[in-house]
Amino acid sequence: MRLAALWVLVVVLGLGALWPTPSAAAQNQASSLPGDPFAANADQAGSALPAAPLTPDLAAPASLPGDPLASPVAPSPAESDSYFDLSGGGYLESRNRLGTHGQGPVALTQEAFLEMTAKRAAWSLYGSLKGTFEGAAHYWPGQRQAGRAALHELFLTFDSPTLDFWLGRKTHHWGTSDGYNPLDLINPLDPRDPIASGRLLNRVPQWQIGALVTLGWFNLEAIALPRTGVMVPPEPGSPWVPGSYRELRQARAQGWLALERRPVPARWLKDGEYGLRLSTVLAGWDLSLMAYRGYWDEPLFRMSLGPSGFQAVGDYARFRAYGLAWAKGLGAGTFRGEVAVKPDCPIQSPRDWERARLTQVALGWDRDFEGRFYLNLQGFAEFQTQTAFTPREDRQGLTYEARAQWALAAWAAGARGQAYLTGEGALTEIFLEWSYNDHWKFSGGTLIFSGSKEGALGQYGANDCLYLTARFSF
C-alpha cells in the first residue's frame, strides 16, 4: 500500500508540474530545463567565428553554380500537419518448428500482425492486433484452440516536457541485462510461446497506467497495473507446459489427486501491481533504481491430504522487488548489469510454497566489432535463503550471443543461448538470417534444450527443433 500511495503521489506531483500556474509558465518561457538550448543564454552558444563569411542571408539565391546535384525546383517548405498524423503497417509471418525427436511439429504458427498510430500534438494512440493460427495444435493431445485473434497493444500517450503519461495495454520493459532479466517484472511470459530466441523470452502486454516525470536530470516513472498481470498455465497438450504442471495434471488424470487452481486475483486496485523507477544518465552511466510490488507470475501449489485423497491448490502470491540497473559505454563495448533483491519471494517446495529472500545479480558485456561481428556475454547468479522445507540454493549461469554479419548486414549467422552451471539445463540456438529486401526476411536454425529434465530449461528437452521463419513486413 505504501508503494501504491507513493505512486499516486508521483502522478499528482506530475500533474501539478504540468498545471500552468503563472510562475510555472514564466519558468517555461525561460526554458529552465537542463540542456535546453533555448535558455536565456542560448544565443551565446554557436556564435559565428570572427570574420565568418556566412551571416544569415535570407535573400540568397535558391541554388549555386557548380552544384552537382542541383534541384530544378526550389525546396518545398515543411508540410503542414493534417488533423491526425496517421501511420500503420504490420507483418505476415510463418514460424515453423519441426521437432527433431520424431515428435512432430513443435509449432506451425501462422501470424498476422496489424498496427496503427495516430498522433495529434502531444497525444498519440497506438493499437495493434494479432491473429494467430497454430497448425501444430492438431498434433497436440487435448489441444482444441488452434486459432485466435486478439488485441495485442492499445494505449494512449500524452507527452509533454515535464510529464509523460500513458494508459492502456502495452509491453513495458525494465532493466538493462540481456536474456536474464530479474527486474523485467511488468509483463508476464507468454505461456503459449515463451521462447522467442535462444536468449529472449516472449512477454504479454498488460493493461496499465503510467507516468514519467522529468525532475532535472532525473526521471521518475510510476506504473500501475490496476488488476494483476500473471501467467495462466499453458493449455494441456502444449509443448510448453512445465514439467511440474504436467505431473500434477497426470496425477489428476490418474485419479489420485484433486487439482484446483484459485482464480487470478482480479479486484481492482487492491490486487494491482505497482512500480517506481528513478533513472538518470550520469557521466556516461545509465542508472536506475526500481521498486516493485506485485504478483509472482506463476501459480504456486499447496499440497494437502483431505478425506478424498491428495489435493493440490494453486494460488498466486504477492512479492516485492527492489533493484539497481546500470549500463555504461566503455570504448567499443558496453558494460551492463542488474542487482535485484526480492525479500519475500515465493518459491515452490515439494509439498507447499514458501517464502525466501532471493538475490539476483547479472553482469554483462557486449561489443560490436566494426559492424562485422557482435559478441554478448553475461553471467548471472541467484542466492536463495533457506526456508522450513527448502535448503539454501545458489544458482549460476550465463547468456551469450556471437554473431557475424556480411553483405552490408543482409546476412547474419551465429549462436546464442543461455546455460545454467548448476543443473538447470541449457538452451542453444544456432541461426542464419537473410534480409532479402525491405519486406522479406527469412531465418532458419535449430533450438536445442539440454540438461536435467527437472531443470528450468532441461524440462523442455522434447522441444528440440529445426525452425524456418519467413516474415513479410508492410
Partner: protein, 266 residues
C-alpha cells in the same frame, strides 16, 4: 611641406602596390592565412542554428535491388554536446526504431548512444563499436551519419581546385585515433563560397579508396546553407546510396526531454 609630400607619395605608392597585389591574387590573399583546420572550423560554423529537424529519405541501389529508408531527424545543440534523434519511418520491419546520440565537444569523451526497439519496448545503450558498421544496410557507416568534432582529425590544406565550376579547398583529414574510425584518411573538397563540402573521398588502409560522397542541391534555408542531396558510391560502383533532405526547419523549439533515453518510445 616637403616632408609631407614625400610621405604622401610614399604611402600612395605602397597603397597602389598593395591594391595591385590584392587584385591580382585576391582570393589567395583573402584566405591565404587559413589552415586546413581553420577551413574545417568555418565548415562547422556554417550551421549556426541551435536546433534543426528534417526528414531524410535514403534509397540504396544495389544490383537489381532498391531499398528505401525514411527517417525523421531532430538535432539540438547544448553547451557541451550535440544531441541527435533519428526515428525510422521506413522500412516496415524497423518502423519506430530510434537512435539517440549525445556527441560531446570534448572528443576524448565517448559518445552516449541508445537504440529504442519498439517491438520489445526496449531502450538499450549501444557502444562506439557499432559506429563503424553499415547504417541500415546502406553505403553509409553509422559514423558518417553522426557529428564528428573538428579536432578528431588533423587537417591539411592540399590546395585549391575547381570542381564542376565551383572553386574548392582540397583538404585531407587524418584521424587522431585511427582505431575509432573506418577511415585512414578523407579527402574533402570544401566550396570556397559557402564553406560546405561538395565531395568527400574515404580511404582505408594502404590508401585504398573505399567510397565517394557527392553533396549538392545547396540551399539557404532560414539563413543556413546546407546540402539537401547526397550520393554515396562504393568504390566498385555497384552500390549507390542517395540521401535527400526535406521539411528542413531550423531553430524550432525542441523540448529537452525529447533527447532523453528514458523518453524514447513509439
Amino acid at each position: 611641406m616637403n616632408w609631407s609630400g614625400s610621405w604622401l607619395r610614399s604611402g600612395l605608392a605602397w597603397g597602389i602596390m598593395a591594391l595591385f597585389w590584392t587584385l591580382s591574387d585576391g582570393g589567395s590573399w583573402a584566405f591565404g592565412a587559413l589552415s586546413g583546420r581553420d577551413i574545417a572550423l568555418r565548415w562547422e560554423q556554417v550551421d549556426n542554428s541551435q536546433s534543426s529537424s528534417y526528414r531524410a529519405t535514403s534509397v540504396i541501389s544495389r544490383k537489381s535491388q532498391s531499398l528505401t529508408r525514411i527517417m525523421d531527424i531532430k538535432r539540438v545543440k547544448t553547451p557541451d554536446s550535440e544531441k541527435q534523434l533519428i526515428v525510422f519511418l521506413e522500412p516496415p520491419d524497423v518502423r519506430g526504431t530510434s537512435y539517440l546520440t549525445w556527441a560531446y565537444q570534448d572528443y576524448r569523451k565517448d559518445d552516449d548512444m541508445w537504440v529504442f526497439l519498439p517491438a520489445e519496448s526496449l531502450t538499450r545503450r549501444i557502444a562506439g563499436g557499432a559506429r563503424k558498421g553499415p547504417f541500415m544496410r546502406s553505403d553509409y557507416a553509422l559514423e558518417d551519419i553522426f557529428k564528428r568534432e573538428v579536432d578528431e582529425d588533423t587537417w591539411e590544406l592540399l590546395g585549391e581546385e575547381n570542381l564542376t565550376g565551383a572553386l574548392c579547398y582540397r583538404l585531407e583529414a587524418t584521424p587522431v585515433d585511427r582505431s575509432a574510425t573506418n577511415y585512414a584518411k578523407k579527402r574533402i573538397w570544401v566550396r570556397q563560397d559557402i564553406f560546405l563540402p561538395t565531395k568527400v573521398e574515404y580511404y582505408g588502409a594502404k590508401g585504398k579508396l573505399l567510397k565517394t560522397l557527392i553533396l549538392g542541391d545547396f540551399q539557404n534555408i532560414q539563413g543556413v546553407w546546407l546540402a539537401l542531396r547526397q550520393r554515396m558510391t562504393g568504390a566498385d560502383g555497384n552500390s549507390v546510396t542517395t540521401l535527400e533532405l526535406t521539411e528542413v526547419v531550423f531553430n524550432e523549439p525542441l523540448a529537452a526531454d525529447l533527447f532523453q533515453p528514458q523518453n524514447l518510445k513509439r
